[in-house]
Each structure stands twice: as structure tokens, then as C-alpha cells.
């Protein structure tokens, strides 16, 4: 299996570390992200489909996510949702296998060819390993809505520590007062002209889902803002969403 690389591999080294480091900044790795959208009029059907496939209720409002079975659902539009869950079992299990595992594709014919389109002669195996995403793919037919994988398109950063809120408020024009932006609250907003999903995952912990291609620049921008406070970098933390939810929220 090819090696996955973080968008942050090209960003500059952290600067200005001090002795007292009240802030931890890092990247969360090892998750998968799928955008699901209903068409006008098919939201209820999508909700049912998601509930039956994943056991998650889709949120009705854009303030706090719903979660179950390791999948966390954010509402991101009138009929659009962002589902965050564990990395695809196949990828995860093979991540440590190394490049030698590259082999010919298995010529399986899938039940649902809608997503796993193929060349004229070949078909990509779909739903083979029963990942949560595959379950959803099977549950949501194309007339009900759209499914768009975005696991690679977003980089997930976190800040944790007393100064986290102040660091964020240098670039995010939202009221982050703890009574207003409550624990487990989230918002779609802008960080320095780039769109982000900001999720408060603890009393002093925030996660940012940023566009991958801006991630390096945002990382440098955030660490620059954090410099006066002092911070440590935790890299490639594999955090299970559920554990985190149970432990911190």
C-alpha cells in the first residue's frame, strides 16, 4: 500500500518553542470523511437510510453534531451533511503493509456499481470489506442523494490548551465565548479567507477541518499566532472519534 502523506509535510518547522507550553497543536490523522447530500424532498429518506446503515441520526440544525457507532454527523447545508468516521478498514489495515503489497486488482463485480465505476473492461470492487462508508453507499441510491468522499480533501487540526481560544480569535470572526460556542458546538466559518469547520471538542480543545491545499499555510499561520504563548506539536495523532467524544465532551 502506498504511503499516505499529510498536507503538513511541506509546512515549515515549528518555531519559538519555550519552556512553558500551555498549548498543544497537532494534526488528527486516521479518519474518513464523507459528504452526503439529499435532494430537495429526499432528506427524510436520507435520514432513514443513514440511520439504518450507521445508526446515526442526522442533525437538524447546524450547531452540534450527532454521533453513534464511531460516526459523527455534521450538518453543513440545508440537505447536506459531513460524516466523519474511522478510516476505511481496508486502508487502515493495509497502511502498515508497505509498498510490496501492491498487486493486481481483484476482479469482483459489485452489487452497486454507481460509485465504483469502472473502465470498459473492469469493475472496482465495492463494499467488499463492509466499512461504514460502503454501508452508506449501499444504503443511499443515486436518486436519493449524493455521496462525495472528502477524506483527503480536508486536513484536521487541533489546538488544546488555555490559549487555544485566543489563538483562534486572531483569525476567526466568531464569538468563541464558552457560553456561546459551547462544548461540542461547531460552525462553518472562515479563517483568514479560507473556509473551515470549527468544532469545539473540549473545554479548551478545538478541531479545525481545513481545505487540504490551504492546510500548510493555515498551520504556519496558527503556529505563528501561537508563538507568544508557547506550544508543542503533536503529530499524526490517531484519535478515535468516539473515545474522544466520551472522554472529553
Amino acid at each position: 500500500m502506498l504511503e499516505r502523506r499529510s498536507a503538513l509535510e511541506s509546512s515549515g518547522p515549528p518555531t519559538g518553542r519555550r519552556e512553558a507550553r500551555p498549548l498543544v497543536i497537532g494534526e488528527v490523522r486516521g479518519f474518513a470523511l464523507l459528504q452526503a447530500g439529499a435532494f430537495v424532498g429526499t432528506v427524510a429518506a436520507l435520514e432513514r437510510a443513514v440511520r439504518s446503515a450507521l445508526g446515526v441520526d442526522l442533525p437538524k440544525r447546524m450547531d452540534a453534531p450527532r454521533r453513534a457507532n464511531g460516526v459523527c454527523a455534521f450538518k453543513t447545508g440545508p440537505e447536506q451533511f459531513l460524516l466523519v468516521g474511522p478510516e476505511d478498514a481496508r486502508s487502515a489495515s493495509t497502511e502498515h503493509a508497505g509498498l510490496e503489497s501492491s498487486s493486481s486488482p481483484v476482479p469482483l463485480f459489485a452489487e452497486d456499481t454507481r460509485l465504483c465505476k469502472v473502465g470498459p473492461e473492469q469493475v472496482r470492487p465495492a463494499g467488499a470489506q463492509g466499512s461504514w462508508m460502503d454501508a452508506l453507499r449501499e444504503a443511499v441510491p443515486s436518486a436519493m442523494g449524493s455521496l462525495t468522499p472528502l477524506s483527503h480533501g480536508r486536513t484536521r487540526l487541533f489546538l488544546e490548551g488555555t490559549p487555544a481560544r485566543e489563538v483562534l480569535s486572531t483569525g476567526i470572526a466568531m464569538d468563541l465565548h464558552p457560553e456561546v460556542f459551547r462544548c461540542d458546538g461547531y460552525a462553518l466559518t472562515g479563517l483568514e479567507d479560507t473556509p473551515v469547520l470549527l468544532h469545539r471538542t473540549g473545554s479548551q480543545r478545538y478541531e479545525l477541518y481545513v481545505l487540504r491545499t490551504y492546510a500548510g499555510w493555515i498551520w504556519e499561520w496558527l503556529t505563528d499566532a501561537a508563538q507568544p504563548f508557547g506550544y508543542d506539536v503533536v503529530e499524526k495523532t490517531h484519535v478515535s472519534l468516539l473515545a474522544e467524544a466520551d472522554g472529553r465532551i
Binding site: P78, L188, T189
Partner: protein, 97 residues
């Protein structure tokens, strides 16, 4: 700083949005309407000094196109709705086109 209340995301500074211009006009039906209808739609403006229906897209939020009614003389935004739901904001009276 001008602030717009996104019906989905809440109040945000206008810098999170992309301006989309005059929303007071009805777009000609696709494939219908001749040069004149499209010319008037695209190039002629009431340019109201007062309540102005206009498009904004919440590009750094839900990416929804909104229709806001903003007074261009005061910058006070009276109403915002998703563009697709904005039928309730149709202009009444002399402003109607």
C-alpha cells in the same frame, strides 16, 4: 463591518460571503427570452437607494446563495433568506419588475 445573518449559520461578517449583485430581477427562463430580455436582466439596474434585494453566497460557511434585503443608504440588512426559499421576500409594489 457589515454583518449578514445567514439563515443556517447565524450572523457573520460580510467577509465570509461573496456578493452576487442585484436579485430584484427575474432571470429569464433558460432557453427562452431573446437578446432584449437578457440584456435588460443583465445590464440594466434599478440601483435602488434604499431597500435592495441582492444575492450573497456564504462561501466560507454553508455555501448557500442567499437573498438579502439591505438598505443601500444605511447598510442595514432587513431580511435574509435562502435564495431558493426567498419567494416570501418578493418585492411588492413599485419595486416589482
Amino acid at each position: 463591518m457589515l454583518r449578514i445573518h445567514c439563515p443556517l449559520c447565524g450572523e457573520r461578517p460580510y467577509t465570509e460571503f461573496r456578493y452576487g449583485g442585484d436579485a430584484g430581477k427575474h432571470r429569464p427562463v433558460h432557453g427562452a427570452g431573446g437578446i432584449e430580455a437578457w440584456h435588460d436582466h443583465l445590464f440594466l439596474f434599478e440601483n435602488a437607494k434604499g431597500p435592495h434585494r441582492e444575492f450573497w453566497q456564504h462561501v466560507q460557511g454553508c455555501r448557500q446563495w442567499l437573498i438579502a434585503v439591505r438598505d443601500t443608504a444605511t447598510n442595514i440588512v432587513a431580511d435574509v433568506a435562502l435564495a431558493r426559499d426567498a419567494r416570501g421576500l418578493e418585492p411588492q409594489g413599485p419595486g416589482e419588475r
